[in-house]
């Protein structure tokens, strides 16, 4: 969307994220050890972040060296001929990459690939579910962890909560502020049970985030506790 792009461009002039993935997550992703949901969030950050992308490429090169370092295991005696026989088979096709057709010409989509491929529509046209005042969510069907988009009205604050397990958040449009700092397009926050936070969406436009939660949240704020039974986190 044009609005999101404008917001991105205003961030220090280069539009690049300032809150990044740590080496441990990038290493797990490069090694193939993250669930599909966590991988989706990481890959979408990588689409927006040349800095983490360079580190991820370095860690894939480490994977290449790890493969090269392994002592060979003899393959079946007919393995080569079996593979050669399949090279020309036209009935075997690589699975297509999930994709969503480009929107109006010339517009930069606010949701980058690969996340865009998991959505069935542009953000405005998704079946958002109201959660509490100022907050809507849209749940994605992704393996490995609870995955959803959150849409927060400008200036709205979220109930205070802690996490039993880890919550990864990637900002896609707009921004929010919490005890840790300011988070705008492309920024990642990784929160575990050490943190007790209360995000407030920035002014001017909705804040849309991707969150991956691998354990239920426990609300701690005054209203949070009251809201707890109704919030289907």
């Amino acid at each position: 969307m044009a609005t999101a792009h404008k917001a991105a461009a205003s961030r220090g002039g280069d539009g690049l994220p300032s809150h990044h993935l740590d080496d441990a997550f990038l290493l797990d992703y490069a090694a193939g050890n993250t669930s599909e949901a966590v991988s989706l969030l990481i890959a979408t950050h990588l689409a927006l972040c040349p800095e983490c992308r360079a580190r991820a490429e370095e860690l894939e090169a480490l994977g290449g060296a790890m493969l090269e370092s392994l002592a060979p295991t003899a393959v079946d005696h007919d393995a080569l001929s079996a593979v050669l026989a399949r090279l020309d088979a036209s009935d075997e096709v690589e699975p297509a990459v999930l994709t969503l057709p480009a929107n109006d010409e010339g517009q930069v989509p606010s949701i980058p690939m690969p996340l865009r491929g998991y959505l069935k529509a542009e953000p405005d046209a998704l079946a958002w579910q109201p959660v509490i005042r100022g907050l809507e969510e849209y749940e994605l069907d992704v393996g490995g962890a609870k995955t959803k988009l959150l849409r927060i009205k400008p200036g709205a604050s979220m109930p205070q909560h802690t996490h039993e397990g880890r919550e990864l958040t990637l900002v896609l449009e707009g921004s929010y502020d919490d005890e840790i700092g300011h988070f705008g397009r492309g920024d990642v926050a990784i929160l575990d049970d050490d943190h007790d936070h209360r995000p407030i969406a920035g002014p001017g436009q909705d804040c849309i985030c991707l969150t991956v939660i691998d354990a239920p949240l426990r609300l701690t704020g005054r209203f949070g506790r009251f809201l707890n039974p109704f919030v289907k986190f």
Binding site: L16, A24, A47, L48, M66, L67, S69
Partner: protein, 176 residues
């Protein structure tokens, strides 16, 4: 190896045979290290090699070495075959993709890592650091699992991984 893979992209079968002889036994070892039994490793390994033939034209030697490219194919095939999950990856042709800034010190486009250099650097790592990295690639152990199994706090595991990678980068710089 890079030349072989480029030749394979051009449809050269004898280059493919050479590539197969080098990589198929290593891919099989990789799959077995990650828990596949002999027959699963054989089957998935053959799938990997067929995919290599089909996708060879996407290999860009300026971006990655042949070993690195082979690693990503084997890694993704295992996720697909064993975990039955997709592997989300960024798409450089997406209009929302943020390219590298034109200028800037740390952000400048990095030269691709030569596999031989990285192999040597891993061998020079102190034993525990090499072990920690091999656990991630060979033993299917994300940092949260390493923390749980070793009884170390997550923050400690993360800082040890960071130290191991910093050391690895330092060794590789010395080799340049």
């Amino acid at each position: 190896m890079d030349n072989l893979l480029v030749a394979v992209a051009g449809g050269d079968r004898s280059a493919f045979v050479e590539l197969f002889e080098h990589f198929a036994p290593r891919v099989k070892s990789y799959l077995m290290r990650l828990g596949c039994d002999m027959s699963a490793a054989e089957e998935i390994g053959q799938e990997v090699m067929v995919t290599v033939w089909r996708r060879a034209e996407t290999f860009d030697r300026r971006q990655a070495s042949a070993s690195t490219w082979m690693f990503t194919i084997a890694r993704n095939k295992r996720i697909d075959a064993v975990r039955r999950e997709r592997r989300p990856e960024f798409d450089p042709t997406d209009p929302a993709f943020m390219p590298e800034p034109e200028i800037g010190g740390d952000m400048a486009v990095q030269a691709k890592q030569e596999t031989a250099t990285v192999v040597e650097a891993i061998a020079e790592l102190p034993e525990e650091q090499g072990y920690l990295l091999r656990m991630a690639y060979y033993d299917d152990k994300p940092h949260s699992v390493i923390a749980a199994e070793t009884g170390l706090p997550l923050g400690t595991v993360k800082s040890r991984l960071r130290l191991a990678l910093t050391k690895l980068r330092k060794i590789m710089k010395e080799h340049e």
